[in-house]
């Protein structure tokens, strides 16, 4: 069995142990978590829900499902609640058992890992540079009935997104070929106009092979709790339910989802923070001969240093100051020179930029010239 453990951002536990400092002293730009969360409403609800942890969680996740269905205006029968988005991805592959899994890369490492866990053949398809656009024509041409394509929008790790007009027709063509498409929309909640960008209406078509998977852990800032969901044709939702572990979504995760998604103030605050910080981060980092910063639509951005060595030394120096970034050497098509950086609170974003400048001033002269 050739399955390597996937590499993830958010290696904060290890950093905390290695550096001998508490978690709270580490600035983690490697995990793309909403710095405003978790919402206060969620914290309060969790304290109240504590008494019920002796009981098995609701295996139908009725309340959370109802809130999600209402929030995104989809019928409840089309919603599956999962133990993080990764469980939903696993379930889709487990139930469909596709002949080949076409992964559009660079991408979240769990797609490939989940395919290998399910003993499936993986075909890597490079996204087209510089916009990380999907080669739809090639997919329509080369995929066969029984295959599955995994694509994410907004794209992790570049932070770009594609509007519906850019993918609706290709999805239709793939569906007609009997090809399933799993679209990971884990960062969709960070876009101001999700309706214009989501594939939910494609997923809701009866008999559709499109499944939209989303994470609530990023937006609500509860990765410790694990909560995600899928939206699909109702017969597919039923099949996914059949292949799952019955109680995988913990009671507290269900409570957090149901309460957090109804918190309008938190949603508005998040939208305002992100709009402001996207602009500010763009201005602070500005153009430079040392790096290229990709434009982003969401709460992280991709940047490329001129060379691997500079990237390596800089990230190590940051690590020793308790600042973590996501090096992209394991993303297909990227490399050590690429960083994925979360957008965090104004103070943290400034501290990050200042730390990079300081390291350059203190050590940059001693580094090999490019």
């Amino acid at each position: 069995m050739d399955v390597k453990p996937a590499v993830h951002g958010g290696q904060i536990h290890r950093a905390s142990r290695d550096l001998g400092v508490p978690l709270s002293r580490i600035l983690d730009f490697s995990a793309n978590i909403n710095p405003l969360g978790p919402p206060e409403t969620v914290r309060r609800a969790l304290v109240q829900a504590m008494d019920d942890i002796r009981f098995y969680p609701d295996a139908t996740q009725a309340e959370t499902k109802c809130v999600i269905a209402d929030r995104y205006q989809v019928p409840e029968a089309n919603v599956l609640i999962s133990n993080g988005a990764t469980e939903a991805i696993d379930l889709v592959l487990r139930a469909r058992n596709p002949t080949r899994v076409w992964v559009l890369e660079p991408a979240f490492s769990e797609y490939r890992a989940a395919a290998l866990r399910n003993r499936l053949a993986v075909v890597s398809v490079p996204l087209e540079y510089p916009g990380f656009t999907a080669p739809w024509d090639r997919l329509i041409e080369e995929t066969r009935p029984g295959d599955c394509v995994i694509w994410n929008n907004p794209h992790n790790p570049s932070g770009r997104h594609v509007r519906r007009g850019g993918f609706a027709a290709p999805l239709q063509a793939l569906a007609e070929r009997g090809v399933a498409v799993l679209i990971d929309e884990s960062f969709m909640d960070f876009l101001p106009d999700a309706v214009e960008n989501t594939a939910v209406s494609e997923a809701l078509q009866p008999g559709s092979g499109v499944v939209v998977v989303r994470s609530l852990t990023k937006f609500l800032a509860i990765p410790g709790l694990r909560l995600g969901y899928a939206i699909a044709d109702r017969t597919w939702v039923e099949r996914l339910e059949r292949v799952r572990d019955r109680w995988s979504v913990s009671h507290l995760a269900q409570v957090a989802g149901a309460v957090g998604l109804q918190d309008r103030a938190f949603r508005n605050d998040t939208a305002n923070w992100l709009r402001r910080e996207q602009q500010r981060v763009a201005a602070v980092w500005g153009p430079s001969a040392l790096y290229q910063r990709h434009p982003t639509s969401v709460n992280f951005f991709l940047m490329r240093w001129t060379d691997d060595e500079r990237s390596r030394r800089l990230s190590q120096a940051l690590f020793h100051r308790g600042i973590l970034v996501r090096l992209c050497q394991d993303f297909s098509g990227l490399g050590l020179a690429y960083w994925r950086v979360a957008i965090r609170s104004p103070a943290e974003n400034d501290a990050f930029h200042a730390a990079v400048q300081e390291i350059f001033q203190e050590e940059g002269d001693r580094w090999p010239k490019v």
Binding site: A31, D58, W247
Partner: protein, 363 residues
Amino acid sequence: MVKPRPQVDAMTLYTPGRSLEDARQASGRKEMVKLASNESLWGPSPSVITAIQEALPHLQYYPAVQEPRLREVLAIRHGLKPGQIVMGNGADEMLRLVAAAFVSVGDEVLYPAPSFSAYRHSTLLAGGVPKEVPLAGNGANDLEAMCRAITERTRVVYLCSPNNPTGTPVTLEAWQRYLAEVPEHVVTVVDAAYEEFVAGPEMPDFLGAVRQDRAIVVVRTFSKLYALAGLRTGWATAPEWLMPALLKVREPFSLNSLGAVAAEAALKDSDYYGRVRQETLEARAFLLDALSQRGHQFFESQANFVTAALPVGVSDVPNRLMAEGFVVRPTDAFGLPQHIRVTVAPQPILEEFLTAFDRVLAQ
């Protein structure tokens, strides 16, 4: 049109015990006692609740893939090495991982019947061929029959001890004979979810077989004695040579961080859980005795539930008990008709239950 793998259509949706909310709606009663899912009505230790509350400010961090401190505490408690332990999302995930890692399409998988539905589910998911082995008359797994049923194609044997839904454990002698006879090409999974409630002398030492590097996976849970069912914390132990295969098929973040924090705190409060265990065993003895005095047939349970036969000709008992305020589990879905499974609760609750049960049967 995209189709599911053929095994999916052969699977059925699990029928869980009724939730309290369900039962309240169906019965129209506000006060309901749930004795249907073997949750601990003693609840978790107060120190567990404190530990969870202290962890709430850290929800914005991903869980550790395998929480090292928790594995260490578990290892010390059970005389294992941390590398022999894998944490996961309840016992269910652990049970599924073994089939996912070891069963290829067409391989045979043996499991007892009637027993927990996850064995068949895990087998079908892996494309295996399910082979049911009937229980012995006393409700325990029939290990001799298991050994006889093993063929060249058998890759995994699931055992359940104490068995759910009978509560009967396998004996030390039967286990030792099984270990002597089971061929090397078979991985044996012991689902020991109710292990903490086993009290008899000379009981099998499943963990001992792991320490001896046998091809044994023992699956345990924090949902029962430790009263953490809502948090989904399960674990399995296996020899280190077997572990990489399990880890490779596991989703990295399947165990949430509060589940890990709660489990660690629970293991540190031996006083509380020692007391709960003792009270559970006393309440079980009380329930078995009361059923016996009333002339009911039941299995000699070593778990935190008791499964009793319903008198012939009596029907609809679970629903009528619900009208009396008690949710119990009919065992039909396990393949054991005309029985109910009742969770052992603090004795005053059981006394009220018995009064209601008497009333229902007298109607």
